[in-house]
Symmetry: C2
Subunit: 312 residues, 2 copies
């Protein structure tokens, strides 16, 4: 498996540019003081669908042949990938079939439906989700777009860090959260494609620390029963993302649930940006490191939260 390369990130950036936001890089002196580092916040919470996922989904959907695309795309997801794939399919004018567990929040189902996707409900188990996707593929001929174990998704995800590296040309380190590893993989390719000397650091919840354990073990380990508030980071690495991350990431920093909530609130309060817990994991990791004022890029991965159920 050769996997995606920096050139794929460059190509993705050109391909998706008409359909995604070039998100701003935001600074906050007060947040820097708190974190102990000069943070350059890449605001993917301001991306379409409120998450970096729009980049990969768009890159994947745009590369389908017309014949394949006409049959539609499919995925199981209760998170940001569902919305991103639904919108990317609408951008191309093709069907999207999204398998969502019955207990997914109504607001997430409404968002996916709002982008014109067909929602297939299933029992809230991994087996039921995979079976439902297999059924819809058998029925429609749709192609499955995996949320991270996919070269096009990874290359698309990397375009956020590519924009960041081009805009801030003297970074010392770039920090991104890691769940399934798509974002950190793409970030690795983009950062080291531009400057191999820049440190690439992953951030994950201690309560879902499979990436840290996997790097220590030298092979991907599963993530059984994660309990973190960072709902976007509960998945485990694939062979594909493990290979990229282990080649590029200097370390995976783990943070506690309390650190995640504290960082989330600090970003809301100081930087006036609504970020979800998964994005706060990266900010919490910066504070927990001794970066001594290093110029640090931070990928704020998304901002989809329930305003009526805030964790403080």
């Amino acid at each position: 498996m050769s996997g995606p390369a920096f050139s794929d990130v460059l190509a993705a950036a050109a391909r998706i540019a008409p359909h995604v936001h070039h998100t701003p890089v935001v600074r906050s002196h007060l947040l820097d003081e708190w974190a102990g580092a000069a943070m350059h916040l890449k605001t993917e919470n301001l991306q379409r669908v409120g998450a970096f996922k729009m980049r990969g989904a768009t890159n994947a959907v745009l590369q389908l042949s017309d014949e394949v695309a006409a049959r539609g795309v499919a995925a199981h997801s209760s998170g940001n990938h569902a919305q991103a794939l639904a919108l990317a399919a609408r951008v191309r004018g093709i069907p999207a079939h999204i398998v969502m567990p019955r207990d997914a929040p109504a607001v997430k189902k409404a968002a996916v439906a709002g982008y014109g996707a067909r929602i297939i409900e299933c029992e809230p188990t991994q087996a039921a989700r995979e079976a439902a996707v297999a059924d819809v593929i058998a029925e429609t001929g749709a192609v499955e777009i995996h949320p991270y174990d996919n070269d096009h998704i990874i290359a698309g995800a990397g375009t956020a860090a590519l924009e960041l590296m081009r805009e801030v040309t003297d970074l010392d380190a770039v920090v991104a959260p890691v769940g399934g590893g798509g974002l950190l993989s793409g970030t690795s390719l983009a950062v080291h494609g531009i400057d191999p000397a820049v440190r690439v650091i992953g951030a994950e919840p201690l309560a879902a620390d499979d990436a840290a354990r996997s790097l220590a073990a030298g092979h991907p380990l599963p993530q059984p029963s994660p309990t973190t508030i960072a709902d976007g980071l509960r998945t485990g690495l694939s062979e594909r993302t493990f290979a990229i991350i282990s080649a590029h990431a200097e370390q995976i920093v783990t943070v506690t649930e309390d650190q995640i909530v504290e960082a989330m609130r600090m970003v809301w309060t100081r930087a006036k940006l609504i970020i979800e817990p998964s994005a706060a994991v990266a900010v919490a990791a910066v504070r927990s490191l001794d970066l001594r004022g290093a110029r640090t890029g931070v990928i704020l991965s998304g901002g989809n939260v329930d305003l009526d159920a805030l964790p403080w």
Copy 2:
């Protein structure tokens, strides 16, 4: 009274550039659908101290002679001007004396103190505030920097719209909230200095509609007992701001408290930006107008809110 001119806004932009953020212009398709206009959000909530006030305060403080500056600056304010003047003074390395009512939120006092200002507490009445400022000026020789009835403050406030007009070169209209009128005055000078054909529209709470009534009457009317949630917009126009606004603003749109809260929540939910009620007034105004997709600039004036007392 000649008042500030477009050239003053241009000079202010150059003067304050090293000390303030060039804030991004943010788009949100979903927010546009809701509002019925293509909104270009000038994110002054991401400005230093979380509000556009940093621009005017910096412009005013930097224009003091060394001799005057050394004696310090003074103001009475329980809002964003207090923090902005405190930080602007710290930037110049001079004292700031901020009169705040005893019942001002502890978090606001802490923020002002955090910027190194001296806080003088007084009874929560206009008379007590003005007397306390007079006392501190008599005692220290400090110069009062009024929050809006000041040419330098107005010119500095206009630099936000200046940046917006330079970045988005084909706007049809620019909407800004109006309280004392400093922001709308500066916005008027900047917008019409660049393109006199662009519509300048003010937005204010119906519960504090002195600007709308003043424009209708042809002279500034007071704002007795405003009760709006938009705490930044409870003040009334001065002769100075009335003169500029009446010469430039096409209209003042008034919005209800329910419209303000709805718009605030929509910006949080759709655009992932934390804005305060005063900023939401401008967004609510856009929605209430029939702009039919017009390219509209909106000044999001600030983002300082109490996360533990949200209005929904």
